[in-house]
């Protein structure tokens, strides 16, 4: 039925409404049209096809009831949703200038990183340059709409109680009232916070990455990505 409808649609409808029913030469997108969304088996589409819409420049189309039902089955076969799946997806995000990216790397990144040291072969590690780009911006970033948190290097914390020795560990949780650390032996320790007591120092290994977010231009990001994918 869908196949028959597709053939009928191709001959009679696609010129105006597009081969994918998303609109074409003069005809609107059918997938989001109320008549189509309310229609079950062609019953609402039928009078429009047979009578046309002269006020909008649509001529009557000579199709039988059964044929319109087939066309409807074809139009209803598309997935329609708010999170529309992309069809014409660009093959790559890479547009940058690798040479300019190399120069940027030397000025902004080389004080901590080296393409022959910690980043050796980085371009081969990520199949998708998009993942490389997100990871470069913030290791551990690039997962959904919320930032921060796990995946990247860990934040460590030093807590110095009013009386007693400084305690170091991995940050588990912090708010205005509590700080929890994971200690080297795997156990956790929680301190109550009361203003500046105890003294809490967070050590964010990604602080410089965060700082750069306010400084990069998009071109810098694209160039840097284009450079890093060549480091194989």
């Amino acid at each position: 039925m869908v196949e028959r409808g597709k053939a009928l649609y191709g001959v009679n409808c696609s010129f105006c409404h597009g081969s994918d029913a998303r609109g074409g030469e003069g005809g609107p997108n059918l997938l989001r049209a109320q008549v189509v969304l309310d229609d079950q088996n062609g019953e609402l589409i039928l009078p429009i096809v047979q009578n046309g819409r002269p006020d909008r420049g649509m001529p009557p189309i000579n199709l039988t009831t059964a044929q319109v039902a087939d066309v409807a089955a074809f139009v209803h076969s598309f997935r329609v949703g708010g999170y529309d799946i992309s069809r014409m997806t660009p093959p790559t995000i890479l547009v940058g200038n690798a040479k300019a990216g190399e120069a940027y790397f030397k000025s902004a990144c080389a004080s901590c990183h080296s393409v022959t040291g910690d980043l050796k072969g980085i371009g081969a590690k990520y199949a998708d340059p998009k993942t490389l780009q997100n990871t470069m911006l913030l290791p551990g970033g690039g997962r959904g709409g919320r930032g921060g948190g796990g995946g990247g290097p860990v934040v460590t914390v030093s807590v110095t109680p009013a009386a007693g020795a400084k305690v170091d560990g991995r940050l588990v949780r912090i708010d205005d009232f509590i700080v929890t650390l994971a200690l080297a032996d795997g156990t956790q320790r929680t301190f109550r916070r009361d203003g500046d007591v105890p003294k809490v120092e967070l050590h964010d290994p990604l602080a410089k990455h965060r700082e750069l977010l306010g400084k990069y231009t998009d071109n810098d990001i694209h160039n840097l990505t284009a450079y890093l994918v060549t480091v194989k």
Partner: protein
């Protein structure tokens, strides 16, 4: 205080009081909630979404105040269970013997975890609130359930429900499958339901109905390309009184010059999914509209500013006619709904009394507008990282930078999709003159994944990669200048938008932080005065007065907590 009054009463007053007291229960029973009661500034009860029409969430109650807030103690807690009762059907009973009444047009028994994001009404000692498909009446003195209503759904987006509206003995609830349901507040039994939007067009309805006189104002959401609208319904029958579309629906409609073609305009979004505020003096219902659709792609049909999407809009509540508008994101390309609650304030501006609207938008900009004309008085950025606009135009509107649209190679954009703020209710204190709003300075990469010049539908056509938050804050803004007077940074790196807020004449500001604490702050400077850890506070705190005691009420997921002083 009551004892002193009694001692001072003369005999004739005593007689008059006895007479009134004898009448009082009958009046209360007959009245339920007189819509005129909502006109009063927020005090003992909580009869509408924001407590009163101003949207300030500023309570005049002072029993709980800076000097004693540290003594707040738990009065009761109550955990809600949703869905149909095990026995099923009308008259089923859940724990405590409360009936569950089942309605609905669908077959959906599926019921996710209960997460109370709603504003909770408190009228005559009873709390009324909702989650998607569920409504409850709960005793405000001890939290026990009086009745539960469950709506069997046809499906659709079940993202949240912002609460109920009340008119006399009627309660109103919107459902995810686009019905307005009217319940008897005393029994929870359904009186009627009417369809308010076409479910086939992927509308879903979450807004708390707002009662103004004999108007029930209802809005809807949609993530496909369909037009947004606000409608007014009759409180007794649900019949349509008027309907205002936030986009042009045909040639010649106002705003059509800001679109490329009618087909795109009439599918152009601008959904109304958060309640607005109401100016009774001028009969203006003032609210925000959502993003244009398609949200992230730019087909030729979207050429222009795309009115009246991403705008603050004032309608005459009796006619549904547009009085003024102010667009906060002309031609938005980042799903930056302007639906965040506008707050109506009468105050000084440039040394003169002025009626104003205060609004902090998801796009990271704060606005002070004139309430009668929509004239812009102040625009400022309340997020340090916001970078999607090139600057402001002559009307103070942010000017979109097309280079920060979703691009094939990726654009580093702030705010992220969650926004610099979102639906979480802001608050205002007339004592400090400050506007309070939870904020987030976050970056995301936006990639264009649909290069078809016709664009994508709805929210499609892009891939968003969250990068990080530079900081999440409770932010206090001076409405006269737009400047941030203070902001409290939530510690750590797990940036997100905090919870909705409450201010009181007890010189307190309440809100949930990012770590599950309910916190009381000094509204003048953000100093922390009290806290308790509940875990994932999920709505804006509220307060009410009952039996001479002030209560502080908040929800955390499926559980409500009420605090008081003994």
């Amino acid at each position: 205080m009551r004892a002193e009054m009694r001692a001072a009463m003369r005999p004739e007053m005593m007689r008059a009081t006895k007479f009134l007291l004898a009448l009082a229960p009958a009046i209360v029973m007959a009245q339920g909630l007189d819509p005129a009661a909502i006109l009063k500034p927020l005090s003992d009860s909580w009869p509408t979404y924001s407590g009163d029409y101003s949207g300030m969430r500023y309570s005049r109650l002072t029993q709980i105040n800076q000097s004693n807030v540290k003594n707040l103690t738990l009065a009761w807690t109550s955990r809600m269970t949703g869905g149909a009762p095990a026995a099923g059907g009308f008259g089923g009973r859940v724990g405590g013997g409360a009936p569950t009444i089942v309605g609905g047009e669908g077959t959906g028994e599926a019921n996710g975890p209960i997460n109370i994001r709603a504003s909770i009404l408190q009228v005559n000692g009873t709390l009324y609130f909702s989650t998607p498909d569920n409504a409850w009446a709960v005793d405000a003195r001890d939290g026990h359930t009086l009745w539960h209503y469950f709506w069997k759904t046809k499906g659709g987006t079940h993202i949240g429900n912002r609460g109920l509206g009340m008119w006399h003995e009627n309660l109103y609830m919107e459902t995810p499958d686009d019905y307005l349901v009217c319940l008897d507040a005393k029994t929870g039994k359904e009186k009627w339901h009417v369809e308010i939007a076409n479910f086939n067009l992927q509308y879903f309805s979450t807004m708390a109905p707002i009662v103004v006189g004999n108007h029930i104002l209802v809005g809807t959401g949609d993530d496909l390309d369909e037009p947004g609208f606000l409608q007014s319904r009759d409180p007794e029958t649900g019949a349509l009184q008027w309907k205002w579309y936030s986009v042009p629906m045909k040639k010649g409609d106002p705003g059509m010059e800001t679109w490329g073609d009618v087909d795109t305009a009439s599918h152009g979004g601008g959904n109304v999914w958060i309640p607005g505020s109401y100016d009774p003096e001028n009969h203006l219902y003032i609210f925000g509209t959502g993003n244009p659709s398609p949200a992230y792609t730019n087909p030729p049909g979207r050429n222009g500013d795309n009115l009246y999407t991403c705008a603050i809009v004032a309608l005459n509540v009796d006619t549904g006619k547009l009085v003024w508008y102010y667009q906060t994101s002309p031609h938005d390309t980042h799903d930056s709904d302007s639906t965040e609650t506008p707050i109506l304030v009468d105050g000084q501006f440039n040394g003169k009394p002025r009626k104003m609207v205060l609004h902090a938008s998801r796009n990271g900009y704060y606005f002070t507008l004139d309430r009668l004309t929509g004239e812009r008085l102040v625009t400022s950025k309340f997020s340090d990282t916001v970078n999607w606009a090139k600057g402001l135009d002559e009307k103070g509107r942010p000017v979109r930078d097309p280079a920060k649209d979703s691009t094939v190679a990726g654009s580093l954009v702030s705010p992220n999709n969650g926004g610099a703020t979102n639906w979480q209710p802001p608050a205002f204190s007339p004592d400090t003159g400050l506007f309070y709003v939870p904020t987030n300075d976050a970056y995301a990469m936006y990639y264009l994944t649909e290069t078809d010049p016709r664009g994508a539908m709805g929210l499609g056509g892009k891939d968003e990669a969250g990068i990080t938050s530079m900081g999440a804050y409770l932010t206090a803004i001076d409405y006269k200048t737009g400047k941030t007077v203070w902001r409290h940074k939530y510690p750590g790196f797990g940036g997100n938008i905090g919870n909705g807020l409450l201010t009181t004449a007890g010189k307190l500001l309440f809100g949930g932080d990012l770590s599950g604490n309910l916190v009381a702050y000094d509204p003048a400077n953000g100093k922390i005065l009290w806290h308790t850890r509940l875990g994932n506070v999920s709505n804006a705190p509220e307060t009410y007065m009952l039996d001479g005691h002030q209560y502080l009420l908040v929800a955390a997921g499926d559980t409500m907590y009420a605090f008081t002083l003994y």
